[in-house]
Amino acid sequence: MVQVHSERSGTLKAVAPDVSNEVLAPSHMANVLPEYPLIKIRPGRKWVALNLRDLWAYRELLYFLTWRDIKVRYKQTVLGAAWAIIQPLFMMLIFTLFFGRLAGLDSRVGGIPYPIFAYAGLLPWTFFSNAITNSSNSLVGSSNLITKVYFPRMIIPAAAVGAGVVDFAIAFAVLIGLMIYYGMPIMGSIVMLPPLVLLTTLLAMGIGMWLSALNVKYRDIRYALPFMIQFWMFATPIIYPSSLVPAKWQWALALNPLTGIIEGYRAALFGLEFNWAALSISAAITLAILVYSAYSFRRMEKSFADLV
């Protein structure tokens, strides 16, 4: 594995010629050679350091790749960024029709209009499911980069998740519009939204990173993921309130890290009481997933170029 001993710019940067035609005698170069190797390339070990410093050194690349994904996503589509709204909006309409009206969930969501209730759940869910789908395919889709140039590979799935944040923001604007339409007040508890978005992003990053690495080796992931996502959606109180689940199964619901997060969104938006226990469980599980997938990503990372 690779260890970078100083930040990329390093102490050398100042000495590198600013004007490309400036001639540096070899003796100058000798003077700037660091005492210790800047980069040591060694065979990979089973367990490796996370090397966050390397990741930090490449933060600009994360920005550029995210920006590219955003720029490119809706190119050559007629509706463009409207797709970010259409997806959760249509799901809301479908679920309002089938669950709200036909299955009669209308009356069991605590006085909130069902369309708003569903949309408030579908909004983070759409963000989350798109983020893990895009990031799990991101490494395989970037094989031309992986085999040709070095950078911390984690940036690729992370950028795929990051690009989803913009869609989320657009779809969020629609939610505010809906709430105004239904005459719902915007509560002060809305300040809890940014930490919730961060938590959703971190969870998506943890899962997306791990799946993307697995997908390099096992292309089964690509086919298994849609089922997994569908199942996960129904196992999370997105289109139904968690109170609907029988008491003896509540613990199972709480183990799903998305439960606390989705309920948290509703609490923040509609001024309901926060379920701090469920939120803490979500945060703890998210952190555990993030750490585990970061390490296992680092471990699998070294074989990417040979496999992809």
Binding site: R8, L12, P26, I39, I41, R68, K75, V149, D306
Partner: protein
Amino acid sequence: MNPIIKVENLSKQYRIGARQARYATLRESIVGTVRAPFKRLSRNGKSSDNTIWALKDVSFDVMPGETVGIVGSNGAGKSTLLKIMSRITDPTTGGIDLYGRVGSLLEVGTGFHPELTGRENIYLSGAILGMRKSEIDRKFDEIVAFAEVEEFIDTPMKHYSSGMYIRLAFAVAAHLESEILVIDEVLSVGDVRFQKRCLGKMSDVARNGRTVLFVSHNMGAVRALCSKGIYIKQGQLVCRSDIETIISTYLSEDKSSSSIIEWNDRDAPRSPEFCFRRAYILNDAGKCVESLDIRKEFSIVVEYEVSRPIKGLRIGFAMQTLEGISICGSNDPEGWPQFDRGPGTFTSRCTFPGYTLNTGTYLVNFTADEPPYHVPLIRTPFCLHFNVEDTIGHGPMKERLPGVLRPNLTWAVANIDTNKPSGRNLSNNVAQKSS
């Protein structure tokens, strides 16, 4: 002075199976895990069968400011070495210490996205290659000017011509500021004029005191750019020396096994009294080779058996290009003073002076005939082939000259203005230059 690159006992092993099936499915993996112990039992520990060493125990140092050409045939491990040095793949054993930042250029246009404009792609590709935004900001105009795409800088790159694409891609990479620059065969693309500018830009890079590692099959480019060389053969370092020695070692040693034809009793072109035995190319040092240096003399040699004396026997050859254009032919009566030849085994050797053929691959056939020379006694197919490699290039830009011939010519340039002050001898204004 300390080396800037230290390569120590570097080895890289590939599993051949893993190379063929590019990725596994979960099922295969599970089945494989279950089967593995049984396989191991039945194979009796011959586990090395399906692995190859792309690199084996390679060690060398590179001093700051050196430009090193890495030479070797396809599959010798050159690209693997560059990939390990660029941190794209890990070594199996051994390691590399780098005392500087590495910029690697293994592909033209790494990270370009066709939907983005030229401007956007400069930033994207620059960031991917390891440049900072501030660095790109500073060099942006220079990059655009080098690529000559000013008018199209805000056009999506999918509308670019392939030439513009390559120019912009190279322009970004050429402005990397790392202390070590690793370049794989990237000059083989683009038009000749742009290739020249790339070579010029890269010599600038070298002169800036930067350390450059360069892989190319274009010996002219390697020779123009590099002062030192490394020759890798089948994953092992054959030698490390100045570039002249490396190139001539590579040209003479590599592929030498296939540069010779030996006919056996069954397939030899023959008549009742005559039989061709062997044919080969010798370089100026008398070694049997396939690749020749454009500057050096070489010989075409054919060996044959005459079972009873043949009156007026002539041995000759004809040479053509891969496209079938006839180049020249000759035969040997002047090389043998007597009219009769044989019985016995003979060689006929025809020597070409240096600076005759241009870069390329040439095919040779052989004929034997006897008076009245209307119909050859025997004619072989175009069976022998050899390559001529341009190790010098032409002029300051080291370009390849056109055509089949590559004579070393002399030019004279004279100023013959009529309104020049009279009384001056015309020959005073003549300057001579030899190419």
